[in-house]
């Protein structure tokens, strides 16, 4: 039975802060995520190399070195705890034996750090969504589905604390929507295909997590909204379009929580603040300290209501001081120290607002992450339980919010932004409230070679 979110988790904007939330999650090691302290979340990857039976021993050694190095640095700097994310490479999911081996190496490194330093740690295991390896994607069966579940299950049995994924249901249509800045198609991809797939996928993941003493943590619209962010940063699509896509992706991500996910949501899910406002669950976020992975216009504001603070990913290469993941660990720890010190001093709200103010007027994508904007839009989204209508509404409300902010001079804008917002507004208005009617309207515009309707329950 899916959970329903029909009211906000917060009644007071001042309670909507980093480090704490109404529904914290306690890890096996006793870290209380969302219980008052912001924890660093470290992620890392291999340097350029092949993965196969011959190179796996080398890959295993690299991961072993990484976990030893980052946790040693965490202990040296008195981190209150560390969330480790193992976001697999495609080969690790396609061949679960590889992924299981690396996950065990990380778990072992965490155990050693607990024994050696008394360091609390937890691990989030994030397999790849390889279902799109089949073209058109096969979403509900087949070898990629099976290997993904096999990896999840064994990693949970071995001791993983959290499951996450960057799922891709609907991406095959959304990609076209992005490069054409077609908001109708984006709403179709997110609000019908994405939502339907999330219901199917997360029901399985939650069942699997519950059966294996693990938490289903949450998804990310990385392939959707973060792709939009990157395209906007390159000047390929308007920033306002990327900002609208960010919020339009919220109802899709919310489905994981309706199915039973409890957080912390995935670090690259910048839709996280909306999820926290609606579900009261902890969220992970990334910003300025993820600069080693990608540019973003939300470096500070992303931390405003974060419960774990992540570096996104960094490959094991040597920098002047140390290996890059160790450097990232140190940076995350100092970021978290500052935020936690502000909390201890009773200056949490002031610090949150500084994080917000330093970014929110400079880019529309930052503006839509303002806690007040998040609360305002979320309050409307919870009034309907239909995730397609929620998706349409999210797009509509964001367009209206940005138009108002630009007119009032609250956010920097491009001279073409208003034209694009008007265009989006008109297109969204043309979307019917009935998803079946919308699907029939869209059929002539869809490349039916790219997706299989039955894989989405259509």
């Amino acid at each position: 039975m899916a959970k329903k979110f029909n009211k906000l988790a917060y009644t007071n904007l001042d309670d909507f802060v980093y480090g704490s939330c109404p529904n914290p999650v306690t890890t096996k090691s006793g870290m209380v995520i969302g219980g008052g302290v912001v924890y660093p979340e470290i992620n890392f990857t291999l340097p350029g190399m092949d993965i196969n039976d011959v190179t796996m021993p080398k890959a295993a050694t690299i991961y072993s070195n990484i976990i030893e190095g980052v946790l040693k640095r965490a202990a040296e700097l008195y981190a209150p705890g560390v969330l480790v994310e193992f976001e697999t490479l495609p080969d690790f999911t396609e061949h679960p034996k590889y992924g299981i081996e690396i996950n065990r190496i990380l778990l072992n490194g965490m155990k050693e750090a607990a024994e050696k330093y008394g360091l609390k740690t937890a691990i989030r295991t994030t397999p790849n969504d390889l279902r799109e390896f089949s073209r058109p994607p096969i979403m509900r069966s087949g070898k990629y589905w099976e290997t993904m579940l096999e990896l999840y299950e064994q990693c949970a049995k071995d001791g993983s604390d959290f499951f996450s994924i960057e799922s891709t249901g609907g991406k095959e249509i959304h990609d076209t929507a992005l490069v054409k800045a077609d908001i109708r198609k984006a709403v179709f991809a997110l609000g019908i295909l994405g939502v339907n797939d999330m219901e199917f996928l997360w029901k399985h993941l939650v069942d699997l997590a519950n059966a294996n003493d693990c938490f289903a943590a949450g998804d990310s619209a990385c392939g959707f909204a973060n792709t939009a962010m990157v395209l906007a940063e390159k000047g390929f699509i308007p920033h306002v379009f990327a900002a609208v896509i960010r919020v339009t992706a919220v109802p899709r991500a919310l489905v994981a929580f309706e199915q039973g996910a409890v957080g912390p949501s995935k670090d690259c899910a910048y839709e996280g603040p909306y999820l926290k406002a609606i579900t009261g669950s902890p969220i992970s976020m990334e910003g300025k300290t993820a600069a080693g992975a990608h540019l973003s216009p939300v470096g500070n504001i992303a931390a405003a209501v974060a419960d774990t603070w992540s570096n996104e990913s960094i490959q094991q290469v040597k920098l002047l001081s140390e290996m890059a993941p160790v450097v990232a660990m140190e940076q995350l720890i100092y970021d978290c120290r500052l935020m936690n010190a502000a909390t201890v001093n009773g200056q949490q709200l002031m610090f949150r607002d500084l994080l917000v103010q330093s970014d929110s007027a400079l880019d529309v994508q930052a503006y839509v992450l303002r806690p007040d904007v998040v609360m305002r839009i979320s309050a409307e989204l919870v009034k309907t339980q239909d995730n397609f209508l929620r998706t349409k509404l999210a797009a509509q409300l964001t367009v209206a919010e940005l138009k108002k902010a630009i007119v009032e001079g609250k956010v920097k804008s491009d001279k073409r932004d208003m034209k694009w917002l008007d265009k989006m507004e008109k297109a969204i208005e043309s979307i019917p409230d009935d998803p079946n009617e919308f699907y029939h309207q869209m059929k002539s515009e869809l490349d039916m070679d790219k997706f299989i309707p039955s894989e989405y329950g259509l």
Partner: protein, 220 residues
Amino acid sequence: MATLNDVSQCVLDGDLNGIKVLVQALIDDGTDPIVIINDGLIAGMNIVAPLFKSGEMFVPEVMESADTMNEGMKLVKPLITDDDIPSKGKIIIGTVNGDLHDIGKNLLVMMMESRGYTVIDLGVDVKEEAFSAAVKEHKPNIVGMSSLLTTTMMKIESTIKQLVADGVRNQVKIIIGGAPVTQEFADDIGADGYSEDASTAVELCDQMMSDQSCPEELSA
């Protein structure tokens, strides 16, 4: 009376309905179809390209212009032979073995087509042998490969080795790109060029095609 300048402007504006009327009017007036293509349709895209480069146009607008050009082409194509259709060159594009990222690759396909190239899109997760077979079949001037992962970038190198092993490496120029890829990596593995994104990749191809050392398109 429709003019070639009107056609160019129509392409620039992305006016899908207007282009049909204008091109048909020029055909009816007896204008040489090749002139309509070169001095109207392609001339319009030649205005679009610098506007995109300078940030004055977004990709969706470029795509509308490209769609408009193609709409006009549909009317003139039946009037000429395939050999008369101007092409700046032929390029094979794909994301390498084990890698599913395709939005950057798709952007490159779109931009290359809109700049007058003949593009063979091999898709994603393209095996080394498939690149090689495509080179043999299509005889392109350029092969473009992309990778978004540190673990799949090495497949670019193995693909180049495959082309060498199959004796077709020297028939093509090879350009590569993707987040973990660098100029240094391109130099190390023997690629001919690297570009940071789809936009600069088009310029790189233009440069290669204007370079006399670029292999001539081979006859089938």
